[in-house]
């Protein structure tokens, strides 16, 4: 057992898989000797060398194109797009090529790759370096989407994403980089498409993702002191989406709140809410509540960014008020 930061868990997971599969390679801007701008790939270049850990120019289409071409000809790839905000620069490659090629070729071609990127708010970088774009990727048929919230999940879901035969976009949250957690020795392998109940409760289900998970847990602690027992589910994976776990929880708690960092419109919680409204309707004792970033670009100033992104206080207030 070792205590790892979320940041070092990224390289830990990739290294585990590169040792297991000598054909696995990675590429991206500054991922080599520099170890990545978030230091998430530190040590990989030293251990695996330049052939397997490739620095690239700032050419997002070239990065994802190279990843795709290699993946579909027998070389699995982990590609880094430094900030998720840069995914739009190569969204053709991701959404038109990588996602649709298996379907269009009727299974003649497979694209087993992982696209990793730093996602989310908290570092005061403004509207082009702080977005939460997981819902954009969720909307594209053919992509799988994961967003781990802890070091152990990062290692296990990274391994699962790398071994998955489909393209997976893995979001690493910038504000979780310094958080720590225990990771067992030996191989760690998790399962895509599985949510995790991180706090049991009986009165309300809070479904949260990535940075919103620790905030939901903190909110649950405060609510507990006020006599409201909240169950917190770390959704972890948007595609595949573990609706069974959420529906099962709602059957017991009869209430659902989603906590989403993405802007309001078409956030992942909207899909969850619509499914629960349909399939869990008779279990509900009240309306499904969505707590999201408002439909605005993220501002840079700390007080403004904090106002926009769901906070512990907003989660507590929203749930408390709904109790009326």
């Amino acid at each position: 057992m070792a205590e790892l930061t979320y940041r070092s868990a990224v390289a830990h997971g990739i290294a585990q898989e590169m040792r297991r599969d000598p054909s696995l390679v990675m590429l991206g801007q500054d991922v080599g000797p520099a170890g990545g701008v978030f230091k998430t790939t530190l040590g990989l270049w030293d251990e695996f060398g330049r052939d397997r850990v490739r620095d690239t120019p700032i050419s997002e289409q070239a990065i994802l194109g190279a990843a795709m071409g290699a993946a579909m000809t027998g070389v699995p790839v982990v590609a880094e797009i430094m900030f998720s905000d840069f995914l739009p620069v190569c969204f053709d490659m991701l959404s038109n090529e990588i996602a649709k090629t298996r379907y269009m070729s009727n299974g003649q071609l497979a694209v087993p790759l992982v696209v990793r990127c730093a996602n989310g708010s908290g570092v005061r970088f403004g509207a082009q370096h702080s977005q939460s774009l997981e819902n954009w990727c969720m909307m594209v048929p053919g992509l799988k989407v994961v967003a781990p919230s802890t070091p152990i999940d990062m290692v296990g879901l990274m391994a699962a994403a790398i071994r998955d035969p489909d393209p997976v976009v893995l979001f690493e949250h910038k504000s979780l980089m310094a958080t720590k957690g225990d990771v067992p020795d030996g191989e760690v392998l998790d399962t895509l498409g599985t949510a995790r109940t991180v706090r049991p409760g009986t009165d309300v289900t809070i479904a949260a993702l990535a940075l919103m998970v620790p905030r939901a847990l903190e909110a649950a602690e405060i609510l507990a002191q006020e006599g409201i027992s909240a169950e917190v589910i770390d959704v972890r994976s948007l595609v595949p989406l573990d609706m069974a776990s959420i529906l099962e929880s709602v059957r017991r708690t009869s209430r659902l709140v989603t906590v989403e960092e993405n802007p309001r419109l078409c956030g992942w919680g909207a899909e969850v809410a619509s499914i629960v409204a349909h399939e869990g309707f008779w279990d509900l004792d009240g309306p499904v509540l969505r707590i999201t970033t408002p439909h605005v670009p993220l501002p840079a100033a700390d007080v403004l960014e904090d106002e926009a992104v769901p906070s512990v206080d907003r989660i507590v207030d929203t749930i408390r008020t709904s109790w009326g």
Partner: protein
């Protein structure tokens, strides 16, 4: 028609035929193979055009009529395990790797016996068993992907070469420049082939491009040789293909070839191509890849009867393939839901 209409521009005529290409050191057997391939690509193209007119092909389609020598020449110079990628105008590139005529025609007819059982359609032909890694519908997108296939070959030490075909319109896309830079920096075994048919869809390419040769003039920016060839002379294409493919296979890095050619028809099914000067179209009809090659083979002593037999044989094959394609059933409706993910299905939740 207004004075400044594109059709009133001075015609851009074909390059003069290089008669010396008759003396290139190409086996008679290879030349007959090239002729057979040209006949196949032309006759399948003509047949597809007729099937559109009969309204049996739905959607759009982009034919290579007039441009066959580029894919025929490169196809003949490639090894069976080499990779091809093409733009949405990819029928000829798929057939030139050995794909079945029936599979191609049936795909355009939306039948279950199509190469992708009707899921890809005209713009997305794929035939992995023959090294054809796909036709890509977004202009320029496949150049970076070709790099990936070449990178994979480099990593695996397989000495396979990747050939990537695209149009002149693709050269003003960012992906073109990103791909060439990375291919040069990583010394990838990839050959980029620009089929310059002088028109970017309905607009003359020279009106929207800062340099004379949309691909070749950019080559020196990436440390590459400036290569311009007559894309309608299949001997010239084949010889160039052999050279650049061998170079890539030997680990000497990428090449960028610009093959000058011309569409005999419109950009796509809907296009009557009235934006081109009549004298230009006529000049290029006089520089037709198949007629040029027919004359060359006769001049090299091949019997007219032998060439006629090839054309007749291909015609029978195209008829048979058309009948077989038409006889194929429509894909079962369940096919909508298959092959989104590797488990064969489309399930995204439990």
């Amino acid at each position: 028609m207004p004075e400044n209409h594109y059709a009133n521009r001075p015609p851009r005529t074909p390059p003069p035929l290089n008669e010396a290409n008759a003396d290139l050191d190409i086996d008679r057997e290879v030349r007959l193979h090239l002729y057979r391939r040209l006949q196949e690509l032309r006759q399948v193209g003509d047949r597809l055009h007729r099937l559109f007119l009969e309204n049996l092909v739905r959607g759009t389609s982009h034919l290579s009529l007039g441009m066959e020598a580029v894919s025929a020449g490169f196809g003949a110079a490639m090894r069976d395990d080499d990779y091809s990628l093409a733009s949405y105008r990819g029928h000829a590139h798929t057939l030139s790797r050995g794909a079945s005529m029936e599979g191609v025609i049936a795909e355009l007819l939306g039948r279950d016996n199509g190469l992708m059982r009707g899921k890809g359609g005209s713009m997305h032909l794929v035939d992995v068993n023959n090294g054809m890694l796909g036709s890509y519908g977004i202009v320029g997108s496949h150049l970076p992907i070709a790099n990936g296939a070449a990178w994979s070959a480099q990593l695996r030490g397989s000495d396979q070469v990747t050939v990537c075909f695209f149009g002149d319109g693709g050269t003003n896309i960012g992906a073109f420049h990103e791909a060439l830079n990375l291919a040069a920096v990583w010394k990838l075994p990839v050959v980029f082939v620009c089929e310059n048919n002088l028109y970017m869809e309905y607009t003359p390419i020279d009106l929207v491009t800062a340099v004379e040769h949309p691909a070749a003039s950019r080559a020196p920016s990436y440390g590459l040789e400036e290569i311009v060839i007559d894309g309608n002379d299949v001997d010239e294409v084949y010889t160039c293909a052999q050279r650049v493919i061998e170079r890539a296979r030997a680990g000497e890095g990428p090449s960028l070839v610009e093959a000058i050619t011309y569409r005999l028809g419109g950009h796509s099914r809907a296009d009557t191509a009235k934006y081109r000067p009549e004298a230009e179209v006529e000049a290029w009809q006089g520089h037709d890849a198949i007629e040029l090659y027919h004359r060359r083979l006769l001049s090299l002593g091949v019997d007219e009867a032998e060439l006629t037999a090839v054309a007749t044989d291909i015609a029978a094959q195209v008829d048979a393939a058309t009948d077989a394609a038409k006889a194929g059933p429509r894909p079962p409706l369940e096919e909508v839901y298959t092959q989104v993910f590797a488990d064969g299905g489309s399930s995204w939740r439990n």
